[in-house]
């Protein structure tokens, strides 16, 4: 059997064991549910139905066309309903209507439950002003329709000297989800590698295995096997989140930024996983009991947490933050920060390249270091091996 045949065999065992693990299945399903839940929550937080219902009594009916036109002009979504006065008032009280227009075109009156929303207030204000204007134009012998056309044709031309730094709402949502997803994927799969390494030490099976294979084969096989499952897991979570977002209308599928964000998410998961899983494998090989895994992996975990916390606390408010831009080009923080910035659409090409190159260079270096520590520490059971001893020892 070739050396890589052995690695494939080891990876294959990891894949089948992981797929059968209840913890893994539950974590995947829960992640999908959380992501779908967030999507649905985002949809609901966006204001239930996003339009407002306005009832119009027969007396105010001539205003209907003006109301619709004005609302459209200033991007307020209104549904108008012709109702009788008393029924309308009852519906306002029940919350079925947001407002009820009574009175006549000359004196507009609005009935609301407690207060009038700003949007609706602006619309009605404009309608009232327009009605007053129309009356003046008519009194002066002009044609209100002509004036209206001329007024609506007047528009402001905007020239932007710098493109906007703020991400739009859709990008922001994808950015936040990317941040959560890549952090969770790296932590879950990194921890799985750490636990797998320690399980082999605790159960002592590692000694039998090392009678047949080299330490590096065992370590790489584990990393590759768990990484393969992790990749499928991340893709499944990302795509079910995407499907939920498209189905609820939170995201538009054709949006290039969405597809791009998912592609980058997968690329960065692979790179981040390669780097971090090696670090997790190395530190886990120092301990022999499951109870010690958490303590041993804390330093590595902290690096992930720091990147995630910085990203999620700074980027949504300030996508262009120079601090985050700088950190995202440092290889240890790149996997948690760069995909988020990419999703927000605020990364110049050169920064993306620097960031990628850094991690790509780091991975073989980490592989060499991790293989050495693992080889020296993995057969030492009992007390925790000091990192320095594992590095030096033969």
């Amino acid at each position: 059997m070739t050396r890589f045949g052995t690695v494939r065999l080891i990876a294959g065992r990891e894949v089948s064991t992981r797929l059968r693990s209840k913890v893994f299945r539950i974590a995947t399903v829960v992640s999908i549910l959380i992501l779908v839940g967030i999507t649905v929550a985002a949809k609901l937080a966006g204001g239930g139905p996003s339009y407002q219902d306005v009832g119009i009594t027969p007396g105010a009916a001539p205003l209907t066309a003006a109301l619709d036109a004005t609302a459209t002009a200033i991007h307020v979504d209104l549904h108008t309903h012709a109702v009788a006065d008393d029924i309308g008032r009852r519906q306002v009280r029940d919350g079925k209507l947001d407002a009820l227009l009574v009175g006549t075109p000359g004196s507009i009156q609005v009935v609301v439950k407690s207060s009038l929303g700003d949007d609706l207030h602006s619309v009605l204000q404009l309608v009232a002003q327009r009605a007053a204007l129309d009356r003046q134009v008519t009194a002066l012998g002009g044609d209100p329709a002509e004036v209206a056309t001329a007024v609506s044709a007047a528009a402001v031309t905007v020239t932007a000297l710098e493109p906007p730094k703020k991400a739009n709402g859709e990008q922001l949502a994808i950015g936040i989800l990317t941040s959560i997803l890549i952090y969770m994927a790296l932590v879950l799969n990194g921890q799985a590698v750490a636990q797998g390494v320690v399980e082999e030490k605790t159960s002592r099976v590692v000694e039998i295995l090392l009678g047949a294979v080299r330490p590096w084969q065992l370590m790489i096989g584990k990393v590759v096997g768990l990484g393969t499952v992790g990749l499928v897991q991340v893709a499944a979570i990302a795509f079910s989140g995407l499907a939920a977002a498209v189905a609820t209308g939170v995201l538009r599928l054709h949006s290039l930024s969405t597809v791009g964000a998912i592609a980058w998410l997968i690329v960065w998961f692979l790179l981040g996983y390669a780097a971090y899983s090696l670090a997790f494998a190395a530190v886990a090989s120092l301990v022999s009991r499951q109870e010690e895994v958490a303590a041993a992996t804390t330093p590595v975990l902290m690096l992930l947490v720091v990147g995630y916390v910085i990203g999620i606390s700074i980027l949504p408010a300030d996508p262009g933050s120079p601090l985050v831009a700088a950190l995202s080009m440092i290889p240890i923080f790149a996997p948690t920060l760069m995909p988020v910035r990419l999703a927000l659409g605020v990364v110049p090409a050169w920064q993306a390249v620097v960031s990628l190159a850094g991690v790509v260079v780091l991975i073989p270096l980490l592989l060499w270091i991790a293989a050495r520590i693992y080889r020296n520490a993995v057969l030492r059971s009992g007390a925790r091996v000091r990192l320095r001893d594992a590095w030096r020892a033969n």
């Binding site: 059997m1 052995t6 065999l9 080891i10 065992r13 064991t17 399980e199 082999e200 159960s203 002592r204 099976v205 590692v206 000694e207 039998i208 295995l209 090392l210 009678g211 047949a212 294979v213 080299r214 057969l379 059971s381 033969n394």
Partner: protein, 302 residues
Amino acid sequence: MNRQLEIDRVSKRYGDVAALDDTTFEVRAGEIFGLVGSNGAGKTTAMRIVLGVLEADAGAVRWEGRPIGPETRRRIGYMPEERGLYPRMRVAEQLIYLARLHGMTAADARSSVDRWVERLGVAGRREDDVIKLSLGNQQRVQLAAALVHDPQILVLDEPFSGLDPVAVDVMSGVLREQAGAGVPVMFSSHQLDLVQRLCDRVGIVRQGRMVAVGTVDELRNQGEEELIVRAPAAPPGWAAALPGATVVEESAGSTRLALHDGADDQVILHAALETGPVHEFTRARPSLTDLFRHIVSIEDQS
């Protein structure tokens, strides 16, 4: 054909402690070689070095006259002292996996697993996770793990520890059968009566040094001859002052004496008869247990 496993002047140090110090012995094809010694004497270190799990500081391990390499090591069946299997993996699946790691094809691995679970009486548990098995059955699976890839060499660290009497018989039978098929079998044990019964040759290790190697009879002949005297009426201490003999053990009318060179057993017989009737008067070779104690105590004094 030089089908033997040679451990040639192997040394291994852990800091200031010499775990193995210039140790040399060989295990020949078809023989059962027992490695005995106190805890920490270096038995496990020697086996780990044979397996390539540890690297020796000096010396060489050879098989058929050539330094042992990864390909040969894959053909060793190994049972570590600290038993180890994946607890949450099914018996058959795990054995197939281990057989394939040792270079077997999937089909060969499956038929070999079928054979061994049948032979070792765990066929009914092949679809259970290892952790669900009784300790005795786990030991049987562990032995199967050492044998499943059809090894050329067997290296077993304390294979008998924790076994019930039936399992001891199964294990002894399997080791004899393997040796009979020409496999060199090397194992360590603290159960010296078992080693005496089972082994063709024995090596006694002490503080990393091989202090005695040979067949069981050779070793027993090296020790001082013993005399067992059963004289029920003899008062305690009756033999303390006899010339040329030392009391090894004295209990309820039975006394075991070590005879030094040139001692006259007839003097001892007379002394015994003076205490009353003598029901037994036997010359014997020391057991491996006594010999081991003797060797260890001599070394301790030096």
